[in-house]
């Protein structure tokens, strides 16, 4: 930029997340995590929690003021749940943003493309027919296979109808695939009434977890998927000029699209496997960032991860406190916020989509 100024040229900079927005996003996430740790049926104050957190830092020699039971509630119940919510929320939002970029469609998200329904079908098959006890390992794989099959089907159906050019046909194809898979899944579910309850609870979505098992299950998938997507943030900006021009700019469009859809689907499927079907995160969060900050994926992707994490942690707090001690499925909370927002997005993108 300095060299450009010396020659009297205009200042040009690549889109990036500025410091202010980074701080805002991190502050929101930190606030959400704090709320997630504080809120619960057993009242534990912020001071003792902070003290206990310091006590976990090695070599600091700070003592905890919490009783053993409170320690367990904060660090074995609430904290894993908050971390799981952050991972799932960040992943779903990031996948949504990536699908929107790859398909150049502001409405693409894991739900509309049928990925979630496919993942749900895969997981239902495992719960219904699989041997008990292997769920933790096999469930993410089964939902991944289902998710990949669904997005591939949606893409092929959309292409055969609209030549892959119009974005509306892709969404219609996704909805079609999702409807078919949901029907198939309901059929399997009704045939296996003994596991009906388990499937149903899982489907509605929830972060009910104790300990770190689910976090460890989902972590490797989320880490790989998020890393692949985030390093391709500039590529998504290039794809914004369409396949032919991206190709003329030297991008291997087919290969890149396959890689990004694969990564987003892997992450989505892993998230769905541990948390069930949680809708609207993938569409609400990226659009919020897009509306407030920038339309460049170099800005959207990093901010979406952080905001998506915060959003789901807060949604989970609502889900477990509104009807406390009973829990509301978290999908209900996200849809309650997400559906009206989605309508708003439809209104504002009607002309440009």
């Amino acid at each position: 930029m300095t060299a450009a100024r010396e020659h009297g040229l205009p200042a040009v900079s690549a889109p990036h997340v500025g410091v202010p927005w980074t701080l805002v996003a991190l502050a929101v996430l930190a606030g959400a995590v704090l709320v997630g740790l504080l809120v619960g049926p057993v009242p534990i104050g912020i001071g003792p929690i902070a003290g206990s957190a310091l006590a976990h830092v090695p070599f600091l020699d700070a003592g905890t003021q919490l009783e053993a039971a409170q320690e367990a509630i904060v660090w074995e119940l609430r904290f894993p749940r908050v971390v799981l919510g952050a991972l799932v929320g960040g992943m779903l939002a990031l996948s949504g943003a990536s699908y929107q970029g790859v398909f150049r469609n502001p409405l693409a998200d894991p739900y509309l493309l049928g990925v979630a329904a496919g993942a749900g079908f895969g997981a239902t098959l495992v719960i219904a027919y699989g041997p008990t006890g292997v769920d933790g390992f096999v469930l993410p794989l089964a939902s991944f296979a289902g998710g990949v099959a669904a997005v591939a089907a949606a893409y092929l159906v959309g292409r055969s109808v609209g030549g892959g050019r119009t974005t509306a046909t892709l969404i219609l194809a996704g909805v079609t695939v999702a409807a078919f898979l949901t029907a198939a899944q309901t059929f399997v579910q009704q045939q296996n009434t003994e596991s009906l309850n388990e499937v149903y609870t899982w489907l509605l979505g929830g972060l009910a977890t104790s300990g770190w098992g689910d976090v460890l299950t989902v972590l490797p998938y989320v880490a790989i998927s998020a890393a692949v997507l985030l390093v391709h943030r500039r590529t998504l900006d290039v794809l914004a000029v369409g396949d032919e021009e991206a190709l003329a700019l030297g991008l291997d469009v087919t290969r890149v699209r396959l890689l990004l859809v694969g990564a987003a689907t892997l992450g989505t499927a892993a998230a769905v496997a541990v948390s069930g079907l949680i809708g609207f995160v993938g569409i609400v969060v990226p659009h919020l960032v897009r509306l407030l900050v920038s339309s460049s994926y170099r800005v959207i992707l990093p901010l979406t991860v952080v905001v998506g994490a915060a959003f789901l942690v807060l949604a989970d707090v609502l889900a477990r406190s509104i009807l406390s001690p009973a829990e509301l499925p978290i999908g209900v909370v996200t849809a309650f916020v997400g559906a009206p927002f989605f309508a708003l997005v439809l209104r504002t993108t009607r002309s440009s989509a």
Partner: protein, 256 residues
């Protein structure tokens, strides 16, 4: 060595040949205009050169066969300015022009100092300094065309492919854009291959004209030789008279 060389290039799509056995070559620094009726295969020829479509036969850029080149290397040799670009409405002009640096970056890299300077120079070249922060969706047709050409320039490729660069522009902007391209050609030594719609403009700016019809070359040579009233009548089904402004042919439609 030719900047561009095609040897019996054929493109099939939907069971018919859109381009049928075309051979031509373009010298470095030359401006070749491709003319022909709608659907003659002009755009498809440019796609072959940009490496975005499959073809039979042989096509080479500066002596290197397109089929053997990596995608990025093709994009370093030719920059395509499409007729109807896909416009990401909320992207700023500067960000858009920076996309032209894509073939010079590795897949996961971000633009560096050099890339920003080159993009800034391209913006300045097209008088887009004032507009660099504006969103593409807010530009007029002429401004947008300049932004697309600036992106092509930022690509820093020695061969510039223009697909109907004056479509949807008024006469003043048509001249501005073509003058600018011609200036760039002379100053930067670019080779220009342009699919053109307007016969008179093609005669004014092209060194050489290739007339295509139904995927085949039907005439080739200097504008004054190619643009004859009889040929245009049979090719376009149009009644025209060819006048001369000095040595440059001017094609005027007439009523019978």
């Amino acid at each position: 060595m030719s900047a561009v060389a095609l040897e019996s290039v054929t493109v099939h799509a939907g069971g018919k040949s859109i381009v049928d056995g075309v051979s031509l070559s373009v010298q470095p620094g030359e401006w070749l205009s491709i003319l022909g009726p709608n659907g003659a295969g002009k755009t498809t020829l440019l796609r072959v050169l940009a490496g975005t479509i499959g073809f039979r036969g042989e096509a080479a850029l500066r002596g290197r066969r397109i089929r053997r080149l990596h995608r990025r290397d093709v994009a370093r040799l030719v920059a395509l300015v499409p007729q109807t670009p896909v416009v990401p409405h909320a992207m700023t002009v500067a960000e858009y022009v920076l996309l032209g640096r894509t073939p010079h970056l590795s897949l996961l890299a971000q633009e560096g100092e050099d890339d920003r300077t080159i993009a800034a120079a391209a913006l300045a070249r097209l008088d887009l300094e004032e507009l660099s922060g504006r969103e593409l969706g807010s530009l007029s047709g002429g401004e947008l065309r300049r932004a697309v050409i600036a992106r092509g320039l930022a690509q820093a490729a020695p061969i510039l492919l223009l697909d109907e660069p004056t479509a949807a522009l008024d006469i003043g902007h048509q001249q501005q854009v073509l003058e600018l391209v011609d200036r760039l050609r002379r100053e930067e030594g670019l080779t220009v291959v342009a699919a053109m719609h307007d016969l008179t403009l093609a005669a004014q700016y092209g060194d050489r004209i290739v007339l295509v019809d139904d995927g085949r070359i039907v005439a080739e040579g200097p504008p004054a030789e190619v643009l004859t009233a009889e040929r245009l009548a049979s090719l376009y089904g149009a009644q025209v008279r060819v006048l001369f402004d000095g040595t440059t042919p001017v094609v005027v439609p007439v009523r019978t």
